[in-house]
Subunit: 306 residues, 2 copies
């Protein structure tokens, strides 16, 4: 039943980082200075927030002699013992949403290099939008090798955001609920998704989002997998759930349309067949892997129909 | 094998909220004004960030005639169709960490009321520490019924934080790894834990934290359950993992001590027996439930030894 696109080899984008994050160096100014001064040290080459690819790898460069340690984040140490840095942005980026270059990177460089880029992108986006202390309004400055910011005025310490997002497939009698947002490419459908709010479990967030967006009550939420999504700094948490019934009541401010799709339709879309009922999300997205997971479960749980 | 404390009835603290969060009202100023003006509307009674209990319930009061809608968060609508609000703090709290009152609340009121309190506490803490725009340093103001803040100067919109934390039991040959932090009550041990960082999956965060804190490499990470933890706004994500070996190399800046504990020791601690090898975390914490989950799996997977 598996399609021709060899799905098991599709990489989950921005996951699979291999850097040792060397937490102990972040808070030790001597060790940090040593890492920065090391002839092995490299920094990620970026154009604003965008990656640069050279010879099938994420471009890296030695640290210039006039580089300031205070303007760099220590991402970690790689398998070749090279300390890897990224330079903070001087300007605030106009847009922290996914760009064509940041997406295509995933298929152009090894997976762990895309993960390294994603980490840099999330941290740089966060610094750029947190130059001021949210407690007192004064300027803050990077601290802990770029893993926090400290306010010199009120002494508050601020940490990079990681925003948990639930992304989920509700299932009802062998069909899954797919939705599309306004402005997506024609025919594209995916799993529903939304930010986890304060005061709820993941399971409660899954149920709330499906109810809000599609009017469907669910139970039996199961965690499947997770993915860092650096636009700007989400943690995608992929789940399945069982729906009580299949009546839809769509919130059109949130999504444009939703429908229940059977396994054959999902398979056709994942295999990019002509006439498939929808255009699947790209393999770099966790939604693709969640659909694959669901489809594999359908196949494993039944007598094959083909 | 189950202890005498009827563990299945122990509530997970701050989870199990029952409010309809009425997302559609947050962005509709007419509906919001109606909810605020409703004779059914109530607000949570707080002393600073601390809860007040009356007759076994979280104290609520009608909205005073002179209350300002701009100073309130709409938490949601309860099962009695009452819109439930919380008033933003005028001052910045000194301490957003767990207090005795906020902990004892969990055993004093129904679980869903402790969840409602937790949601309020997280949101109020966030507003109190985000009065200024982190992009430009100017004052921001609450928007969307308290579910965001908007900067009138640069127009940036800011959303409440939810900080994902992994909390996990590494297992090796029938024993689990327990650690204690500096300053904990004497004898207290729990699962290791740490914040998820930008650029990593949950599974990668689990492996990194156990490696950092205890020097142990793990694989086969499995999600167990989650919990909102309102001090100030964490999302606890509880997992198990299998350790490659049991040699420990403890980072004493992070934890004071760690050891491997067998099922009998965990059982004795959960049952609060004299002579138990450690003092278990309280049942309101997800760590207690994670230990229970592991212990139940041990019992189910073996011939009982007692």
């Amino acid at each position: 039943m598996h399609g021709s696109n060899a799905p098991e080899t599709q990489l989950l984008g921005y996951a699979g980082g291999r850097l040792d994050r060397v937490d102990h160096i972040r808070t030790n100014s001597d060790l940090l200075a040593q890492a920065f001064a090391s002839p092995l040290a490299r920094r990620v080459v970026l154009e604003g927030l965008e990656p640069v690819v050279e010879g099938g790898h994420l471009a890296m460069e030695p640290l210039p002699a006039d580089a300031w340690i205070e303007h760099h984040v220590l991402l970690g140490v790689d398998e070749g013992q090279r300390p890897i840095f990224a330079e903070l942005l001087a300007d605030t980026p106009d847009n922290v949403m996914p760009s064509a270059r940041s997406r295509s990177l995933v298929s152009e460089v090894p997976g762990h290099e895309a993960a390294l880029y994603g980490t840099a992108r999330s941290l740089l986006s966060w610094h750029a939008r947190h130059r001021f202390c949210s407690v007192c309004g004064q300027r803050s400055a990077p601290a802990k090798a770029g893993w926090s910011r400290r306010c010199g005025s009120c002494e508050a310490e601020h940490f990079p955001r990681v925003d948990p997002v639930v992304i989920m497939l509700a299932e009802h009698r062998g069909r899954v609920l797919l939705g599309r947002q306004h402005g997506w490419p024609q025919g594209r459908y995916s799993a529903l998704a939304g930010f986890v709010e304060p005061g709820e479990t993941l399971e409660e967030a899954v149920a709330r989002e499906i109810k809000e967006e599609a009017g469907v009550a669910v139970h039996s939420v199961r965690y499947v997998m997770s993915q860092p999504w650096p636009f700007p700094s989400s943690l995608m948490i992929a789940c399945t759930a069982l729906a009580d019934d299949d009546a839809l009541k769509i919130d059109e401010t949130e999504i444009e349309h939703a429908f229940w799709c059977d396994a054959e339709g999902v398979r056709a879309a994942m295999d990019e067949e002509e006439g498939a009922p929808f255009l699947a999300p790209p393999p770099l997205a966790v939604a693709w892997h969640l659909l694959r997971h669901w489809l594999d479960g359908q196949v494993a749980g039944r007598t094959p129909s083909a």
